[in-house]
Amino acid sequence: MDWTALTLSLQLAGLTVLILLPLSVMLARWIAWSGGRAVAAIEALVMLPLVLPPTVLGYYLLVGLSPGNAIGAFFATLAGGPLVFSFAGLVLASLIVNLPFAVQPMARAFEAIPQSVREAAWVSGLSRWQTFWRIEAPLAWPGVLSAAALVFAHTLGEFGVILMVGGSIPGETRTLAISIYDKVQAFQNEAAGLMAGVLLAVSFAAIAVMHVAGRQRRQRMAPVAEF
């Protein structure tokens, strides 16, 4: 069992969720409540990592983030070192890869809040900020929870992009999924099996969280008839 890899994976997943969630909430609200071509274009862009082969995405990130070009150099000065083959680079890649998993469930959750309910909150005297915390967030909470679980599980299991951008540096970029691959390559099937089991359990738990959240949402919003 590669404990360093497990810790690294959990750190990467946790950081991705923490950074991506607030950004995605803003993006999801914008997608849910604005109309026009710009929204459709941005939504398509957000969905892109879902259909792009991980190696293709990883290749572009590797090229884009290398200190040899302007973008990579900019990020390198920002992060205090080159982003490729580093943990910071993994986080950035993970944020981009997970965008659709975070934004999609949340956009659907915010869309489900009727416009009139938000307007009723404004008319009732709640500021935009109060409306977000007291009306929108509680109503969209199951969607946010689903997104968090999905992003967490997906980050733990991400392989292709991470291998392309980070390689397999122990303690820096060798996550659990990479470690499983390395162990299998080295014919250490027992260790690989154990780690695969851990990933399986975590993924199952994440899906379970999503289902519970989904049921909670139906109960909250459902127009149940008078009994």
């Binding site: 309910v117 307007e119 404004w122 008319v123 709640l126 007291r134 909250r220 459902a222």
Partner: protein, 413 residues
């Protein structure tokens, strides 16, 4: 934003752009406006404590509306679907910003296009009952009302105030219920209580009875009428149901394609409509066209030529001899001549015609009488229609009572 989901569709059987007119028998009371009334309403526009609305824009929703609503007054905005009623209400609430005009409440400007002034809904103190009620689904009934009370109050006081408001709308004992466990009528009461909690400056009701069944609707209307007696803020009701507006409102604002056509008391809008368009919008069928004749030597009555008949009028308004005018004949001013016996007002504007249809509506029957190229519509008790042998093809004579005849400018062609 008129394209909201849940917006009530026009009732089946409505003519294009027509309003519902059932239960619309206010009785003959033409010229019900006294000098006092005129003063009172003139003062409405000057009163600093009421609501003063003037909204004007060319698009995307064309609007040219102007009306005032005094403290304690209920003004009903009526008009066909898509006439801009809800948009006007949203402009008052601060949810829709028109391009031009001004909105003032209690002497404070909420909107002034020229000054670039626009207060957000949070700063207006407006209670709004949404058409779909828009209750907060994750809060119980008490919390829904508490959310609209000033956050500066201690929670205990807000809870007590919420309970008092719920009692005012006859909804006690359901404070802990979630909105999804409420019936339509109960939801409407919660929405009303929440709006009242916030209605410091005015109360706005957007088709508040359209989402409930007929029986609940009648009860809610009675309760609103009772509630009004205890309210001091201006109330604006938006509805496409004319009978609802007639029973509840002090004044009507007739809106068509964003234009206010007439703002007046319900009885006057019905019997003294400002134009043939208003008359049609409030459900009149007998809108005829005639030519005003030179007054007779005694000059007591105006005279009008219509379909070969000469009708005498009690009032010709501002119209001059020779004018081509539209003539409104409210159905309650059409009196059938009894067979073999003289009737009241028999000599007044007698008109002969051929019965085209008699439709029994219960104790009343609707009669269509063809006179020349025009048709008169009126209702009368079913037994009287039968006793007088009214049947399709029969000849009949009616009187058009002069006091009810009302002249209007013809529609521009």
């Amino acid at each position: 934003m008129e394209t909201r989901t849940g917006k009530a569709r026009p009732q089946e059987g409505d003519g294009p752009g027509a309003l519902r007119t059932d239960a619309l028998r206010t009785g003959p009371a033409p010229d019900g406006q006294t000098a006092d009334d005129a003063n009172r309403h003139a003062n409405h526009d000057a009163t600093p404590t009421g609501l003063d609305v003037h909204v004007r824009q060319a698009g995307p929703i064309p609007l040219n509306a102007r009306f005032a609503c005094a403290r304690g007054e209920l003004l009903a905005i009526v008009g066909p679907s898509g006439s801009g009623k809800t948009t006007l209400l949203r402009a008052i609430a601060g949810l829709y910003r028109p391009k031009g005009g001004a909105i003032r409440a209690q002497g404070t400007a909420w909107f002034d296009a020229n000054a670039g002034l626009w207060l957000p809904p949070q700063a207006r103190g407006v209670g709004l009952v949404f058409q779909d009620y828009a209750l907060f689904p994750h809060m119980d009934v008490a919390a829904n009302v508490m959310a609209a009370l000033p956050q500066s109050l201690p929670a205990m006081e807000r809870r007590a105030a919420a309970h008092a408001l719920l009692a005012r709308v006859n909804l006690t004992g359901l404070e802990a219920r979630r909105p999804h466990a409420l019936s339509g009528g109960q939801s409407q009461r919660v929405a009303l209580a929440r709006a009242l909690a916030r209605a410091q400056s005015c109360l706005l009701l957007d088709e508040p009875f359209s989402a409930v069944d007929q029986m609940t609707r009648e009860r809610l209307k009675r309760e609103l009428a009772d509630l009004r007696t205890t309210m001091s803020c201006p109330t604006v009701l938006v509805t496409h149901d004319l009978s609802e507006a007639m029973t509840l409102a002090d004044r009507l604002c007739v809106l068509a394609r964003g234009n206010t056509l007439q703002v007046d008391m319900p009885g006057r809008v019905r019997l003294r409509p400002a134009s043939a368009q208003v008359a049609r919008l409030v459900g009149h069928n007998n809108i005829l066209e005639g030519v005003l004749r030179a007054p007779a030597a005694d000059a007591q009555h105006g005279m009008l030529t219509w379909q070969g008949h000469t009708l005498s009028l009690a009032n010709t308004g501002a119209h001059a001899a020779g004018d081509a005018v539209a003539l409104l004949v409210p159905p309650e001013f059409i009196v059938l001549h009894r067979r073999g016996r003289p009737s009241q007002g028999e000599r007044e504007n007698p008109v002969d015609g051929t019965v085209r249809a008699v439709t029994i509506l219960g104790d009343q029957s609707a009669v269509r009488l063809e006179v020349g190229a025009d048709t008169l519509h009126f209702t009368m008790p079913t037994h009287a229609a039968q006793r007088n042998g009214l049947a399709p093809g029969e000849r009949a004579r009616v009187s058009l009572l002069a006091e009810g005849l009302h002249l209007m400018p013809r529609d521009p062609r």
